[in-house]
């Protein structure tokens, strides 16, 4: 860093893992750190990790992390002289970058002009073309005339993509394989783009089937230098969202890398770009041709894979460049090993990736060499529906791609993530898939491997049920008071075992499983699903047990949450959640009369119901008068009135039934 730094306090205008990531480097550089947070994020880890934190108020992004005025006020209040935008939110908002400049705050990122130019996609493409970057044929739709659209489409050629000019993240994007689908696609894309970005401008672009998504990590400095740190491949996508990201690409050699890097740097120079950026290409692995897609003027989510294989801290580099440092190009030989990143989302891949917000009951991972976790959550975090449901990024680095993939799969399988449905099993399945390991990852990978989105349940039900029961029993017995010394469920006479029922909670509409079990020393005799099992147990404790079913022995870690849900995570990547059926019905007012009976002798003064009426528990059926007081006769349960057994004016005895419920 230069001897005269231009800033000493950095506010991170972001949340979650990226805020924590930026704080980590900022602290290493001795910078004072400022966090901002919305109401739902008040207890988020990123808030705790900054030196000071400022509440923005509000819940939605618009009310908090996207509110420029609030963020600048937070900076002013805390004396922040630099803002790091992270990714997403305001990171590619030229207006924000401008506002920072006006407030005398360093924006750690490119100039508003660069952001603006690259933000309009068709404009970016034109600039790239001028800089000598190969592009796919395209056409901007400037009219509302379907005829014009058709002509433009024919010019571009099919298949093609309809893309939002202001877009990103797959929003406002449509794939069109033939001309007759065009009109609908354009209208839909425009609607979506208007809703998402406030700008309905779309353009058509030739679509390469079976291509790869390869992007170059570039940096520009204020001295006019442009450098690049190789490529990342992010071809495994679902609906244009990246699922697996890696560096280097299995299909990019040194020569192609150098060529693509040089082209990307040409664009950086053309723009006078300062800071970190990513130039994205579509790559045709049949002839190594590549075409400019877009340039992202920020640090990417997947930047860690580049850091791992190049041994660089890209956030540090961002700060250095923002401070006016001069870049030198990395040694092309400085690329070592292979890194792969996956993103764990609170979502259900088997159900069209619907988000599953909620409380993350437990979040735990072990520290393994070569595995890096970038997470913004912890046990007890609430994953709200206000923000992106990403829980964590996990990055594995190995000597080879296969090593990195398998290591990453194991690390994911070993994580304990309880309370939310996630895409973890899908990620593990992808990383262990032979085609993935062979490197044949084109953008249609998941479409060609639909089974990976609904991977087979890795849970051995008998083993998990046995673990859940054994640990529950152990916990009850150790709390068993005076007779805790006796074996569980001990009987003097022969005994088949205790009856119970358990229901799987992490599987939709799972049926209740009745079980009979008996724990005898280190053997659990278990009957379920019409079969008898002799499960041998080792190291039974309050939180774990080794369970052997059919001679296969595995460690099951078990967590009993609030005595209602039992979570089982095994050492082989099986994860399940179970709920024991309560032994007794809920406490209800059992002594309440089902029917409406008089409590005292008296006269009926009003009848509120008639035969056939549906009534709710506690509803007034009859009003009577006795001893100059009114008494109400109420329904003891929900039901339907079978008959009214009294009349207004009638004198009734105590306990006499006045209304009978069906």
């Amino acid at each position: 860093m230069p001897t005269n730094p231009t800033f000493s306090t950095v506010l991170v205008a972001n949340r979650g893992e990226i805020a924590r990531r930026v704080f980590r480097t900022a602290k290493a550089l001795g910078l004072r750190t400022v966090a901002v947070y919305s109401e739902p994020d008040a207890d988020a880890p990123h808030v705790r990790e900054a030196d000071v934190a400022v509440a923005l108020g509000g819940s939605t992004s618009a009310e908090s992390y996207l509110d420029v005025a609030k963020i600048l006020e937070a900076a002013r209040k805390t004396g922040a002289d630099a803002v790091h935008p992270g990714y997403g939110f305001l990171s590619e908002n030229a207006g924000f970058a401008e506002a920072c400049a006006q407030a005398g705050i360093v924006f750690v990122g490119p100039s508003p002009d660069s952001i603006r130019k690259m933000g309009i996609k068709h404009e970016a493409k034109a600039i790239a073309k001028a800089a000598g970057v190969p592009v796919l044929p395209d056409a901007l739709l400037t009219t509302d005339e379907p005829d014009d659209w058709r002509k433009a489409g024919e010019g571009v050629g099919f298949p093609l993509l309809v893309k939002a000019s202001a877009g990103g993240g797959g929003k406002g994007m449509r794939l069109v394989s033939a001309v007759d689908e065009l009109e609908n696609a354009v209208s839909g894309a425009r609607r979506e783009a208007t809703a998402a970005f406030g700008d309905g401008t779309v353009f058509l672009e030739r679509y390469l089937t079976a291509s790869r998504h390869i992007e170059i990590q570039v940096f520009g400095d204020s001295h006019g230098n442009a450098v690049f740190y190789g490529e990342r491949e992010c071809s495994v996508q679902r609906r244009h969202q990246k699922v697996v990201e890696e560096a280097p690409s299995p299909v990019v050699g040194a020569a192609v890398r150098a060529r693509m890097g040089e082209v990307a740097c040409a664009l950086v120079r053309e723009l006078g770009y300062v800071g970190a950026g990513t130039v994205e290409f579509l790559f045709d692995d049949t002839d190594d041709s590549y075409y400019f897609l877009e340039m992202n003027t920020r640090l990417q989510v997947e930047h860690p894979v580049t850091e791992e294989v190049w041994g660089q801290d890209l956030v540090r580099k961002q700060f250095e460049v923002a401070n006016g440092a001069e870049l030198t190009a990395p040694d092309p030989e400085g690329l070592h090993g292979h890194a792969i990143e996956v993103r764990i989302y609170a979502e259900d891949p088997a159900r069209k990736y619907i988000p599953s917000p909620g409380t993350l009951a437990l979040y735990e991972h072990t520290d393994v060499p070569g595995i890096r976790y970038e997470d913004g959550v912890r046990s007890g975090s609430v994953v709200s529906h206000y923000y992106d449901p990403m829980l964590a990024k996990v990055i594995a680095t190995g000597a080879s791609r296969t090593e990195a993939a398998l290591k990453l799969a194991s690390a994911l399988a070993g994580m304990r993530i309880q309370g939310l449905k996630t895409n973890r099993d899908q990620l593990v399945a992808i990383l262990r898939d032979p085609d993935f390991l062979a490197g044949t990852t084109r953008t249609d990978f998941l479409d060609l491997h639909p089974a990976l989105s609904a991977p087979e349940d890795r849970v051995d039900v008998t083993a998990h049920l046995a673990a859940a029961i054994a640990v529950s029993v152990h916990r009850r017995r150790t709390a068993g008071g005076a007779t805790a010394f006796a074996p569980a469920g001990w009987r003097l006479l022969p005994y088949d075992g205790a009856n119970a029922a358990w229901t799987r909670q992490d599987v939709r509409r799972a049926p209740e499983t009745p079980v009979t079990y008996r724990l005898d020393g280190s053997t659990l005799y278990l009957i379920h699903g019409g079969a008898e099992y002799e499960v041998s147990l080792k190291d039974l404790g309050p939180e774990s047990v080794r369970v052997a079913v059919d001679g296969v022995d595995r460690l099951c870690r078990v967590r009993v949450a609030d005595d209602t849900v039992v979570w089982v995570d095994d050492s082989d990547g099986g994860h399940s959640a179970w709920k024991p059926t309560p032994r007794f019905p809920e406490d209800a007012d059992a002594s309440a009369a089902d029917d409406g009976a008089a409590e005292v002798p008296g006269t009926v003064v009003a009848i509120a119901v008639a035969a056939g009426d549906r009534v709710r528990s506690g509803q007034v059926l009859v009003t009577m008068e006795a001893m100059k007081m009114e008494h109400q006769v109420k329904a003891g349960r929900d039901g339907v009135v079978a008959s009214v057994d009294c009349a207004v004016g009638q004198f009734v005895d105590a306990h006499q039934i006045l209304v009978t419920l069906a």
Binding site: V473, G480, T483, R583, A590, A597
Partner: protein, 530 residues
């Protein structure tokens, strides 16, 4: 404390033979237990279930804390008599953290009717509850007395209602959950209990059922009007709680027990409850079915006591009665264990030791394997009766809790001196090889033969040797049949036959139950004849 060593070679030929023999006996006992467990049999169980009702043992399992132990008592009561009604289950279990005496009628056996053995069992359970300060829970569904046997039931049976009331008087709570029909005598179980829960549309509690009412006063009525749960909860006030169904009733019962805020009054376990050093499995080689084979009783203690630790008292004196201190699941106990026939020295040592345990207020464990006191002129002259009386005096008046474990023979006055059933031990458990009688069958037959022969000689009549042999055989078989462990348990001479390997758990549960009440000793004994 010294740790007992073992000389036992469980792989020896003799040990293996003994083991096989006792396993065969255990198998026969298990078959008998299975019959008891089956209650009225599959047909009646199915009929009962089809009414949406739970079986007696299902009710019990639900009542007990999940995965907690249940010490069933007198399970074989009445099984010695083929004319008996054997149904129902009784024992000690933990409900809402409280060790309780629990009894459940089995309605699949003659509608839950109680026979003479059932009455005797009920009375024994009331005695155990009172002496050990255990709350009583009755899971009631009973047709009352087994009428054909009413002559054997009516008079003694009255004590069961007295017993419930006296528990209350002693400050011990009583609770009855009524699941079904509970007629006449049965009706007084909820009537006498402090708390009563009745299951809606199931419980029917009345002095006389609809037919009797029709007979007596010509009133037409039905179960629900006459003694339904709803009526008793709203009108008569016999039911304190109305339950929607059986599970709800058990839930309410558990809540009632939780609300007792019951605390045990004993000193609690104080010692390290570690497992014995020697394997419980070997106890099978220490329970020879042939009682003529001597067993070193310290080998048994080494497999029952915490850490096999035993601090022996007077080890060089009166060596056939082993006395000393140890603990079981943390509960300290003084132990008197037979290692052969009793002589004067043993009787004096035992009397001394019992007084010490009373002075220290430590419960006593009697391990009985005794053929009796020594006979013969030398011993009579040595005052064997005088010394034996000292031991019986000490046992009779001792106030610390006694538990008696019968691991072999229990003959003659040895049974008394070692706190047999008549000496009010809190619990008596037996092993399958246990035999109990005034003396062994062969000895008894022999004695009778000698007496007959002398009578004939005196009368100058010839003695019929063939008839003598026949008589001896008959008497021997009869005595042996009436002294075997299963028969004895059927007669309620003990609280249950156990697998020797269960000894430590059974004794631990018994000591824990005893600990529900205070442990106090006494200095008040009859004069010891010096």
């Amino acid at each position: 404390m010294p740790v007992l060593r073992s000389q036992l070679d469980p792989s020896s030929e003799a040990a293996r033979a003994d083991r096989e023999a006792v396993l065969a006996a255990l198998q026969r006992i298990r078959e008998l237990q299975q019959k008891v467990l089956a209650g009225g049999g599959e047909k009646y169980a199915e009929r009962h279930r089809s009414r949406g009702k739970l079986l007696a043992r299902e009710r019990l399992d639900l009542l007990l804390d999940e995965d907690s132990p249940f010490l069933e008592l007198a399970a074989l009561a009445g099984t010695h008599d083929p004319t008996e009604t054997v149904g129902g289950v009784s024992g000690i279990g933990t409900v809402s953290g409280v060790e309780c005496m629990i009894g459940a009628n089995d309605p699949t056996v003659k509608g839950g009717a109680v026979g003479p053995s059932g009455v005797a069992k009920q009375l024994r359970m009331l005695e155990i509850a009172e002496r050990n300060r255990l709350p009583l829970i009755s899971l009631t569904e009973s047709a009352g007395a087994d009428l054909p046997r009413q002559a054997d039931i009516f008079v003694p049976g009255g004590a069961s209602f007295k017993g419930i009331s006296r528990l209350s008087a002693a400050g011990i709570p009583t609770l009855s959950i009524v699941f079904g029909s509970s007629t006449a005598g049965g009706a007084y179980v909820p009537g006498m209990s402090e708390f009563t829960v009745m299951v809606k549309n199931q419980a029917a509690v009345y002095l006389g059922g609809p037919p009797l009412v029709k007979m007596a006063i010509n009133e037409d009525t039905d179960d629900e009007t006459l003694g339904g749960a709803d009526m008793h909860a709203r009108v008569s006030g016999l039911a304190d709680y109305l339950a929607r169904d059986e599970r709800d009733a058990i839930r309410i019962g558990r809540q009632i027990v939780a609300d007792l805020r019951w605390r045990k009054a004993g000193p609690g376990p104080t010692e390290n409850p570690d497992e014995p050093v020697h394997a419980a499995e070997d106890l099978l080689a220490l329970a020879p079915m042939d009682l003529r084979r001597p067993v070193e009783v310290r080998e048994i203690l080494a497999r029952v006591l915490d850490g096999s630790r035993f601090s022996e008292f007077k080890p060089l004196y009166g060596t056939t009665l082993v006395c000393g201190w140890g603990s079981i699941h943390g509960y300290p106990v003084g132990i008197l264990a037979n290692n052969g026939i009793l002589f004067s020295e043993e009787a004096n040592k035992g009397a001394h030791f019992i007084q010490l345990a009373n002075a220290r207020e430590v419960p006593l464990l009697f391990v009985q394997n005794i053929t009796g006191f020594m006979v013969g002129s030398r011993y009579e002259r040595g005052g064997i009766i005088k010394d034996g009386s000292k031991l019986i005096n000490a046992v009779s008046n001792s106030q610390v809790p006694h538990v008696t474990l019968m691991v072999g023979a229990s003959y003659g006055a040895g049974n008394y001196g070692m706190s047999g059933r008549a000496y009010d031990p809190r619990f008596v458990f037996t092993w399958p090889n246990h035999r109990i009688a005034v003396m062994g069958g062969r000895e008894l037959a022999g004695v009778m033969s000698i007496v007959q022969r002398q009578k004939a000689e005196k009368a100058g009549q010839p003695y019929d040797e063939d008839a003598d042999a026949q008589t001896r055989e008959f008497i021997e078989a009869m005595v042996d049949g009436q002294s075997d462990a299963v028969y004895a348990s059927g007669r309620l001479w003990d609280d249950g036959v156990i697998d020797p390997r269960q000894s430590r758990t059974v004794l631990g549960l018994a000591l824990s139950a005893i600990d529900s009440g205070p442990v106090a000793g006494t200095r008040a004994f009859a004069p010891f004849r010096m």
